[in-house]
Every structure is written in structure tokens, then in C-alpha cells.
């Protein structure tokens, strides 16, 4: 289990391959990954760049906790989370979640659990700069229509 807060751009696919080298080979049957990337639009506005703020220490603590919860709850072998902070532009990776398991069902469920709770609990804040030069803090995350029901079931 590993959590990385990355202040520079990163290659999510290389990160997965590099992390997998630290694991025993041939034991897992699949990897489920979620990769969140920066959009060039939000709430109908064109976004030129973005700054991601975080609370050092608390952020890692909460992602480590949700990763451990996933490890305890599902039959998975390992988790790896990378989350960007700092300045970025559209197309840049923001968050990578990778879950290794013997079977796909547990790894899908665990990956979804981690991203949902990360978005709810981990202290990150997005500040967008639009093409017109307007700078504003994003007040809430876009809704995933299934989140409330899934959380209620958890």
C-alpha cells in the first residue's frame, strides 16, 4: 500500500509499472485503475489552468486510511494512489488509483470505494484560472449520480 502526493507532473502508466516491480510477480489476476485528468471546462466555463492546494499530513493520513479500509473490506492484494498538487493544465493526470487482486470483482469495488471516499474526505482544493483570466476556487465536486446510493450501501 502506497500513497504519493506529487507536486510535479507524472506518468501514471510508468508509475503503475514501477510500483508493480516492488510486488511479488504472478500472484495477482488483475489490476483495476482509475485515472482522473484535468478538464478544460467546468460549470460551463473554459478553464486554462488549475492550482491544487492540500493540507500536508492530513491529506496523506486520510488517503492511507481509505486505502486500508479497502484492503480490510475486500480480498485485494495491494493499492497505490498518486494525487497531484500544485499547478497543472488540461489533460494532466490529477489522481491515479490502482488496485491489485486475484479476481476482478473485488478490485473494481475497492477502486471505486477509494476514489469516492477520497473525493469526499481528502483535503484538496481546486482553484481554476479561466481563459478570461478569472481565478476562482471550485466550491464543490461535480456529482457522481451513483455516489450517494453507493455510500448509503457501504
Amino acid at each position: 500500500m502506497k500513497v504519493v502526493i506529487e507536486s510535479e507532473g507524472f506518468d501514471p502508466y510508468k508509475a503503475i509499472v514501477d510500483y508493480e516491480k516492488t510486488m511479488p510477480q504472478g500472484k495477482h489476476g488483475g489490476i483495476v485503475t482509475f485515472l482522473g485528468t484535468m478538464r478544460d471546462f467546468n460549470d460551463g466555463e473554459d478553464v486554462q489552468s488549475m492550482h491544487l492546494d492540500h493540507y500536508p499530513g492530513m491529506t496523506e493520513k486520510h488517503i492511507e486510511r481509505v486505502s486500508q479500509e479497502a484492503m480490510d473490506r475486500w480480498d485485494i492484494m495491494d493499492t497505490f494512489v498518486v494525487h497531484r498538487v500544485g499547478d497543472m493544465v488540461p489533460g494532466d493526470p490529477i489522481v491515479l488509483i490502482a488496485v491489485w487482486a486475484a479476481h476482478r470483482a473485488d478490485s473494481f469495488d475497492a477502486c471505486r470505494y477509494i476514489i469516492n471516499y477520497l473525493k469526499q474526505d481528502a483535503p484538496f482544493w481546486k482553484c481554476e484560472i479561466t481563459k478570461s483570466g478569472d481565478k476562482h476556487w471550485v466550491e464543490h465536486n461535480s456529482e457522481d449520480p451513483g455516489v450517494a446510493q453507493r455510500v448509503a450501501n457501504d
Binding site: G36, L52, D53, H54, Y55, G57, M58, T59, K61, H83, I94, V95, I115, L118, K119, Q120, D121, A122, P123, F124, W125, K126, C127, W137, V138, E139, H140, N141
Partner: protein
């Protein structure tokens, strides 16, 4: 007692500072009392609070040496 306070994101901009130290002449202070001393108003639902990096609420009793952070709803991921 002196309490170390941190502000993040839009709240840091609004407060005009990233951190502060607030002094009370008593050793039992709630999060709500601390916020009222900082802003002259009750803690609104739109502001989250963490003590020692754990989410809590206005009724939480702060102990000497605790770190208190106020911030807006989170928007990561």
C-alpha cells in the same frame, strides 16, 4: 492557552493569512468558541474543521498543543 490555527484554500484568502495563534485565558475552549473569536460569528456549515488532522465539529473541546484547521468543502480527485 495558545491555539495554533491554520486556514486553507478560499478561507485562507478570505482570512488574509495561512495561520494564526489565538490566546485564551482559560484551558477549556471549544472549536465553536475559537471560531467566534476569529470571526465574531458562529461556525457555519459551509466551513469544515479538523483538530489534529481529524474532522470534528464546533462542540469539540480543544486541548493545549492541538492544531486546528478551518477550510471549505474539499474538491480533490
Amino acid at each position: 492557552m495558545d491555539i495554533k490555527v491554520r486556514f486553507f484554500a478560499s478561507l485562507r484568502d478570505k482570512m488574509g493569512r495561512a495561520d494564526d495563534k489565538v490566546s485564551f485565558d482559560k484551558d477549556e475552549v471549544t472549536v465553536g468558541e475559537l471560531w467566534e473569536k476569529l470571526s465574531d460569528s458562529p461556525l457555519p456549515d459551509s466551513i469544515l474543521v479538523a483538530v489534529n488532522m481529524e474532522y470534528t465539529d464546533a462542540s469539540h473541546c480543544i486541548k493545549p498543543g492541538d492544531e486546528v484547521a478551518f477550510f471549505p468543502p474539499v474538491t480533490g480527485g
